[in-house]
Symmetry: C2
């Protein structure tokens, strides 16, 4: 197994796309050897720039990501795209739209698109995405874009992996737009108003400005607002420019490492939790878990005491 | 402490709203005694009906929940509402809109509204929501509605607690509507097309029917589609009727307990994971975690091996 993994790593670093795809699947599915593979790849990671893009449904994220990818390809940078779809807890694999996207870029090996759906894994989507990012990073991609639908806690966790987080909004989002923006204000490094040729773009901009005046970021950065019409390619160069400026700001102020350390504190905690769960799982058979669940569901047993007891015994054997 | 907790439980069960509010805060913040409190309350829970309502931003969830609450109050049932806002990882407490809602219902002690935001707790929002539901349930509320913004994995986890899950859609949601619906199809027991007086309501209905024809539920239930205009109170009685019908179906087919057992299998796993994390936390000081994170961020250390080592030592002391 060891030798095999080393060959995978070599092929992956040599740019073999088929190995890349297989490696990502292995990591995603926690197939045998996934942990060894990541251990072997980690030292080769850390060179790629990672952008996170999120926003509500209908904001045109995929189109924007595609346009950005084209832009960076013209600068001869290789691109990896991770399209995360947390809305699909049951369906594994790529959704139709992503398959079509993949085919479009098929002729350019400089763009690699990977679609990910939640698989109900206890490891969590954010963690799997982080691991897949490590694989893409180690494979030598210059730039990785993580694209995620929605703006829930999951998405916040996912885009937090990125050095630069881009929040995509659109005019006319309805009553809840205030809520979304207030929640995600703190993590958006750059705001995009996409479909900005529509009515209401000025309203969205004004609302962002108002919210910005209420909350000052601890790093002193004022997130710029970039207007785009992604379907026509308008504003894409400006967005790429905003990304560069923020990256320079991070570098000048020595903030990049801090951000990474903070992320790793969180990730290490989560990884530890997962490792411990696996350990505990070894102590409770599926049959026992089902029996316990039935007892609790019938209110014959209090779950809080039960869990305390199992945890107290964990690791003793 | 023991005695104090018992007094809380007594007061809470006697219907004291102030104690209810304090108990929820204790559970939400994991304040001293939270675990004892839940242990004491659990035997008194299990009587309330729990409805979960979710949908994309702008779908009019709050208005719909308010109208449903009014409807059930006319039937003399007491209502508890948990408004979950996973979009706000940093802001604790209620958002403005919810405060206004709470004031509106202030004169009726039969409606209790609680707003919850993610607090970045490692325990996770779904688990905290489940615990708050237990508190409300034990306090004697007849009906609990869990309302959540968005349709990410978080929301799926949250609404899964409910016996009946209602997915609220609106006409004209844009390109991603297909994605949302495909993902959440499996968990929606009832579809609502709100703002159904708008253009495009028929389109949404057709899309739901198409998706339904593709995926047959394992429990044999065909989720009905209810059209509402929540702001005018239209369709609310029909929605309540659909809820009753599904509850009767669950009862007839003996499915309610199965659903509950499945939920508890998942919840027990999660609770166990959290308990183990706490245990592990005791073994890594914050200082150590920060140091490890710095080493990983600087690529001096591989996180995968590190976590394995810590997990292997956990529980040995």
């Amino acid at each position: 197994m060891e030798l095999n993994i080393q060959r995978w790593i070599d092929q992956l670093r040599a740019g073999d796309v088929r190995t890349l795809a297989r490696a990502i699947s292995m990591v995603e599915n926690r197939g045998p050897g996934w942990s060894e593979l990541l251990k072997g790849l980690f030292p080769h990671s850390g060179k790629a720039r990672v952008l996170g893009l999120t926003g509500p449904p209908g904001a045109g994220k995929s189109t924007l990501v595609d346009q950005l990818a084209r832009f960076y390809r013209k600068e001869n940078r290789t691109v990896g795209i991770i399209a995360v779809d947390p809305t699909s807890p049951y369906t594994g694999g790529a959704i139709l739209g992503d398959r079509i996207r993949m085919q479009e870029h098929f002729s350019d090996p400089g763009i690699y698109i990977r679609s990910m759906a939640t698989r109900g894994s206890l490891g969590g989507l954010a963690r799997t995405t982080a691991d897949v990012t490590t694989v893409l990073d180690a494979s030598g991609r210059d730039l990785i874009m993580i694209e995620t639908v929605g703006v829930g806690q999951d998405e916040v966790d996912i885009v937090r992996l990125a050095e630069v987080t881009i929040l995509i909004l659109v005019p006319g989002m309805g009553d809840d737009v205030q809520t979304i923006k207030a929640g995600i204000m703190e993590i958006a490094d750059i705001f995009v108003i996409n479909k900005s040729d529509r009515d209401g773009a000025e309203n969205v901009e004004r609302e962002i400005r108002t919210l910005q005046s209420l909350a000052i970021r601890s790093d002193g950065w004022t997130p710029p607002i970039v207007k785009t019409v992604a379907s026509e390619g308008t504003g894409i160069a400006e967005l790429a420019d905003a990304v560069s400026k923020y990256e320079m700001y991070l570098k000048e102020k020595n903030l990049a490492l801090n951000k990474s350390v903070e992320n790793w504190q969180k990730r290490l905690s989560e990884m530890l939790r997962d490792a411990l769960l696996e350990k505990a799982r070894g102590q409770i058979t599926d049959g026992n878990l089902a029996r316990y669940a039935a007892e609790v569901a019938e209110h014959k047993r209090d779950p809080y005491t039960l869990v305390e007891e199992i945890a107290a015994n964990a690791g003793k054997s």
